[in-house]
């Protein structure tokens, strides 16, 4: 797109309400492809990636305008490779970065800065033989149940089910939170009943152990069918449909959900819709 930014809106903003503030410009080192963003209340910080410059950027929670990041993780020791998403774990003070290009998940200290090596690496690649899937972007941590959930893409194999759109970000892989090396997932949610294909951002509601996903279905189709916001349990396994879902349809205005955020206080799920260039908020008491 023609303009990168982080726009910050009041939660109750609607229609064409202006953002409270906007972070943008050369000094911010922002770029397109921020396919995840996290806010950490403990340190009052904002976390995003710069995929093309292989960097993790941390901003002040109240950052505004052309304000540079507080910290930048970047350099040869980091092994960062096209990071487009991330997750933070405020309980254990960690940043987790899935890397489709390297088929791994890197874990850094939450306060890491500069050219620092990862604390641990989860090599989730298909080449290791434990699973037909590899990390594909979406990631969420549940520090209460100590699990790590990543979105996976199946590697071509005639013996497994394939989605009608071709395999792309169609699985949820559930690991022990501290898994590293060539660890196998504890559980995999995948199959035709899941309806999953081209999942983007995911988040976990630890209170109930709910995994909430945004599914855009097919990026190469302007307005694809089968888009939804769906909820699975961290205990689910196999070819299961979501417990609950809100489908993209004219009745609710949602077309192509790309990002998702949970607001437990108000029992709301916030959706970033890439076809509408809009933010939609749904009341979703079932998971809070």
């Amino acid at each position: 797109m023609a303009h990168a930014q982080i726009a910050i809106f009041a939660r109750l903003a609607k229609g064409g309400d202006a953002p409270q503030r906007v972070i943008f410009g050369q000094a911010t080192k922002l770029n397109r492809n921020m396919h995840a963003i996290r806010y950490g209340r403990t340190r009052d910080e904002i976390y995003v990636t710069n995929q093309f410059a292989q960097a993790i950027l941390t901003f002040r929670g109240g950052a505004n305008g052309q304000e540079p990041p507080l910290r930048i993780i970047q350099g040869p020791k980091t092994l960062l490779n096209n990071p487009g998403t991330l997750e933070i774990d405020e309980v254990n003070n960690e940043i987790l970065v899935p890397q489709p290009a390297s088929e791994n998940v890197l874990v850094f200290p939450l306060t890491a800065n500069g050219d620092v090596p990862p604390l641990r690496i989860l090599r989730a690649g298909h080449k290791n033989g434990w699973t037909p899937a590899r990390p594909a972007g979406g990631i969420a941590v549940d520090p209460v149940h100590n699990v790590l959930v990543i979105v996976g893409t199946v590697v071509a194999n005639d013996n497994v089910w394939h989605t009608p759109h071709g395999d792309n970000r169609e699985s949820l892989l559930i690991f022990d939170r501290l898994a590293q090396g060539d660890a196998k997932p504890l559980r995999v949610i995948r199959g035709p009943n899941t309806g999953m294909h081209t999942i983007r951002q995911i988040e976990i509601q630890p209170k109930g152990g709910w995994i909430v996903i945004s599914q855009m279905t097919a990026g190469e189709i302007a307005e694809p069918e089968g888009t939804f916001v769906g909820v699975w349990s961290i205990h689910d396994q196999g070819d299961l449909p979501p417990r609950w879902k809100i489908e993209g349809k004219p009745g609710n205005g949602m077309k192509k959900p790309h990002g998702i955020a949970l607001d437990p206080k108000h029992k709301e799920v916030v959706v970033a819709d890439m076809r509408l260039n809009a933010i939609l908020t749904f009341y979703f008491p079932e998971i809070f």
Partner: protein, 464 residues
């Protein structure tokens, strides 16, 4: 004994009745049990105390906004709601496996929607032959064609376009790049994201029409320029950074004629592209985000080809290459450094006639003008910037050498602004095409890739 008890109960009942009667005698003259103050108040409003509840006043409930925050009423008989309630009774998620489980589809509208309902201009071109200005709207995914002399009066809400190309059939989405064929007015639209296409429409196309022609390009394609004499079409790709050269009339899966890519090229998140065919040069604007790529794959590199940990932030730049450059060719020269004032340089336009390069400087709300011969840490020849210019987050720029005008597509304020070609400083536009009422904010939400909730400030963080 029994008689004594009976007398005792009668006495107690009589005493209770006496107390109640005395209370009633005190309350009735006072008007109400609240006392004389309230009685006075009710008398003043023309009412008398009756000892019974009365209508004191009528206060309307606060008006509910149609899309405000409220619970949706669902009939108790709704199976969906019932199932949801049954699910809700579980204290937490429990394990399931297999495929027997049914899914609960929740039928509910969004409580709130943040969306700019008006166009956001991301690129511009002038069809001087047909006297039209063509604008890319990256918010509503449409191509808008205006009369070249259109000028929105200050009191008008907006100016209506002559034609609009819009709808899912058009393959127009995240439309950043724009080129108008000077011979026939054909419109070339570059989609920047997952549609991965350049869509070509005839000049008079309108509505939800299929492109007359389209060809595949990599995701993150951005700028477009055409060398008409050689019928070569140039495209920038942000990452992996490349310049692709296609035949102008490419279609379908046609492969590029040549590719400029590699660690020596200096390409770093390239955006705009312009050609100086007189001197045989390509000009490319770079944001500066870059990583190294492994050797051995010189055509259409992929994300997987990057060297882990090699990423860096270079200063923004304008890199200059020979028109026929390909492979891992280094730039002939580069405009780069603090004097250049480059700040997220977006589209650029090369004015061959006057030997100048115009840059839409998104991050600095300015238009920078350099000489085509500039190199190194040079200051621009001219800078168009200031509150009178109405330049705000400019993404697109075009020089109309026929009419000696400069046209700017501003992402930040729903406007395309037109100036004399040599305008500089804080100069007001001579015409403005406004797509929304004056003062309405342009949200610039484009391809929102994710979202987060700031629990401290009660805010939503929305990155593009």
């Amino acid at each position: 004994m029994k008689q004594a008890n009976r007398l005792q109960r009668k006495f107690a009942a009589a005493a209770l009745i006496s107390v109640l009667a005395a209370t009633a005698l005190w309350v009735l003259p006072a008007g109400t049990a609240e006392g004389p103050e309230f009685a006075t108040a009710t008398d003043a409003r023309g009412r008398r105390g009756t000892g019974y509840p009365q209508l004191v006043s009528v206060e309307p409930l606060p008006e509910m906004e149609a899309d405000g925050e409220m619970c949706q009423w669902v009939p108790a008989s709704s199976q969906t709601r019932l199932a949801a309630l049954l699910q809700e009774q579980r204290p937490a998620a429990s394990a399931s496996s297999g495929s027997a489980r049914t899914s609960v589809t929740l039928e509910r509208p969004a409580l709130r929607v943040i969306r700019d309902p008006f166009p956001t201009y991301s690129a511009v071109a002038v069809d001087a032959r047909n006297n039209e200005i063509v604008l890319q709207d990256e918010n509503l995914f449409q191509i808008m064609v205006y009369d070249r002399m259109a000028n929105t009066p200050p009191t008008a809400s907006l100016t209506e376009p002559k034609r609009v190309i819009r709808g899912p059939a058009t393959q127009v989405e995240f439309n950043c790049g724009l080129y108008i064929d000077p011979k026939n007015g054909d419109i070339y639209s570059v989609s920047n994201d997952a549609l991965r296409t350049v869509a070509v429409f005839s000049r008079n196309a309108r509505g939800n029409v299929r492109p007359d022609r389209q060809f595949s390009v990599p995701i993150r394609s951005y700028g477009i320029a055409v060398a008409e004499a050689s019928e070569e079409l140039f495209l920038t790709v942000q990452a992996p950074p490349m310049v692709l050269v296609h035949h102008k009339y490419a279609q379908g899966k046609d492969k590029p004629l040549r590719v400029l890519t590699g660690n020596k090229t200096g390409l770093a998140d390239p955006h705009g592209i312009g050609l100086d065919t007189t001197n045989g040069l390509i000009f490319v604007s770079n944001y500066g985000n870059v990583a190294e790529y492994k050797d051995g794959r010189e055509l259409l590199r992929r994300d997987e080809d990057t060297v882990p940990g090699s990423g860096k932030f270079e200063p923004p730049s304008i890199a200059v290459y020979p028109l026929k450059a390909s492979g891992n060719a280094p730039p002939l020269r580069t405009v780069q450094g603090p004097n250049t004032q480059l700040n997220w340089p977006s589209h650029l336009y090369v004015d061959e006639k006057h030997g100048e390069v115009y840059v839409a400087n998104d991050g600095d709300d300015s238009i920078l003008v350099f000489r085509v011969t500039d190199s190194g840490n040079v200051a621009p020849t001219r800078v168009l910037k200031g509150p009178k210019t109405q330049v705000q987050n400019p993404a697109g720029v075009f020089v109309d050498t026929v009419n000696d005008e400069l046209v700017v597509a501003n992402m930040g304020n729903h406007r395309a602004t037109v100036y004399h070609r040599t305008a500089q400083g804080d100069t007001a536009p001579i015409r403005t095409i406004r797509a929304a009422a004056d003062g309405l904010p342009a949200l610039q939400i484009v391809n929102p890739g994710s979202v987060a909730y700031d629990t401290k400030r009660d805010e939503l963080l929305v990155p593009n």
